[in-house]
């Protein structure tokens, strides 16, 4: 059964395969007309930005990203948006959905109460086109020396496999920029390094306590945690449980304790 796809039946090559389901995949219509209001922008062409509405037949289980793909492929090939992994590990599809920073790939249409569904790019980054922003400044204050890997907390195993010292995993932060977009301070003070940097710094500190003097000095400088106003929007919008506000509070305490403030 299909959710969507624009065809009543998927055309399948007639290979006589036994172990793979090559029966014609049938479409069960449980779709609903859903309208999206998308902020369009093309420098010099759609400028200033203005909203455009698109309607599609959407199964409620579709994600906002699935809908964007359908609109681009069936209605407007010029629609620009970022995407890659479709499961919240790359961080590229973050945008504002009905006013709140979310990942388009894991936001289901059925979970959005307000229709039409309004899409805008992240705030606080230079707009490139439609929902695409220039994410480069995200990386300005994150050092390449900060390890993107950490020990896995899933420690129910009772024995390590030979050749592995410790199970490792990627950090939670997928560098999506949602926290920066939602942060009240970054909009008025471009000097603030922002919640993502401070959270990454705090995680690096946990893994490399020998760096504490230099890291805390960074966190405590004029661009650091002192500028945070405790709105906690960052933790609220983070899609991958980084809890930047908690990290900032931890750093604040460490800085007080070491007398660096």
């Amino acid at each position: 059964m299909f959710l969507f796809g624009g065809h009543a039946e998927q055309k399948i090559r007639a290979y006589p395969c036994k172990s793979v389901s090559h029966k014609k995949l049938k479409l069960t219509m449980s779709t609903k007309k859903t309208t999206f209001r998308i902020l369009r922008y093309k420098p010099g062409h759609i400028d200033p930005p203005r909203y455009q509405e698109f309607s599609i037949e959407a199964d409620p289980d579709m994600s906002v990203l699935d809908a964007l793909e359908k609109i681009r492929l069936e209605q407007d090939a010029t629609l620009m948006y970022r995407h890659s992994c479709h499961h919240s590990s790359c961080g590229t599809c973050a945008c504002k959905i009905n006013g709140t920073e979310r990942l388009a790939c894991t936001t289901k249409i059925k979970d959005l109460r307000n229709k039409p569904i309004t899409l805008m790019p992240l705030a606080g980054f230079k707009p490139i086109g439609d929902l695409v922003v220039d994410i480069s400044p995200f990386y300005d204050n994150i050092s390449e020396d900060w390890n993107y890997l950490k020990n896995s907390e899933n420690v129910k195993y009772s024995q390590m496999p030979e050749s592995i010292v410790r199970f490792k995993r990627f950090e939670n932060c997928i560098e999506c920029g949602a926290c920066i977009s939602a942060c009240l301070v970054t909009h008025k003070n471009k000097g603030f390094v922002g919640p993502a940097v401070l959270a990454a710094l705090s995680n690096e500190l946990k893994k490399s306590p020998q760096k504490s003097e230099s890291l805390l000095s960074l966190a405590g400088n004029e661009k650091g945690e002192r500028l945070c106003e405790r709105a906690i929007n960052c933790s609220r919008v983070c899609p991958t449980h980084v809890y930047p506000a908690k990290h900032i509070a931890d750093l604040r305490k460490l800085i007080e304790d070491t007398g660096l403030d």
């Binding site: 055309k11 010099g44 699935d66 090939a77 479709h86 790359c90 050749s163 199970f167």
Partner: protein, 387 residues
Amino acid sequence: MEKIVIIGGGGTGAAIAHDLVLRGFNVSLFERGELLSGTTGRHHGLLHSGARYAVHDPAAARECIQENRILRHMAPQAIEQNDGLFVALDVADLAFKPKFLENCRACGIPTRELTAKQALALEPELNPSLKAAVQVPDATMDAWRLPLHFYATARANGARIHNYSQVIDVYQAGGHVTGIRVLDHRMHREYQVQGDLFINATGAWAGKICDLAGIQLPILPGPGVMVALNGRLTNMVINRLHKADEGDIIVPQRNLTLLGTSIWLADDPDAIGLPRDHESKIINLCAKLVPVVKKTKVHSTWHAIRPLIAQGKAVNPQEISRDFDCYDHKQRDNLDGLISVIGGKATTLRLMAEKTADLICRKTGRNIACKTKTEKLLHYRHFYKQK
């Protein structure tokens, strides 16, 4: 030096751009959407040891283990290096084991046999009635960040990378591709690009670029569904110890567990529906390996499209080789100036690029060796430090 134009901004395009600039070529790349938004970004992130292919596709298996070693060295920040287990659940799986071990050995893939008790000590969430397991050097890669290392390095070395730039026409004259027409989705304008050689690295979309050039390409889009669950249920990659089939791969990543996959064949990579029954099918099959999969909330379900090489006769798509090929269209279609790179796996991106760049060197008469086995890659974050 010759100007090489790469069409397609996936992992293959990234690695080709990287290889070519190191050899001194002038490189431009055009991608119609965001980089890595086709198949490369969306796969389940398995950095293959090659064991999955050792029995029925040993050529692909050998390539995988070689590249697995190279990538661990080149891009360690984009890989969770926790190895993997092939798990035998029944007597049929146990009967498969000797051939599996022997073929892995022949392909140079290290294995370690484990008893059921040893496997459960490593991974307590495994099906307690498993019979045995084999440890292999599988790993989890970040499907976006790993190839982004290649883009970062290529760009730093002078490659010009253009996204939201769609190739809408291919120009030819006298049996030779002379240029392409690009639609810039951002600036709302079309322009022509000339070059000495054009590389079609669009994977499952390669047939569409060849259509623009008026030629046929034996590419079969082979989509599959993947399911991400909310929770890190294992640390090691878990595979079923049997001939490669659907729903027999579990890939941990961050605090998610990715289940894969299914397979079917399609005509148009831009018109793929999501067969929702595949989600429950994959969950039920993977639950045989790790039962708690059935009780874990689904985080996301999506499809990715394998770029399979059509083999001219009806065959089970599971058996189509995952090897890759470089098609010089001068030999095949009397159309010079165009090369298509098809097939392959995310794990073998660097090798696909090496073979393609070697072909480009032969065609341009340049005797320049590949440097990508030893040249360090820049950290993926470097991609954003260049404007």
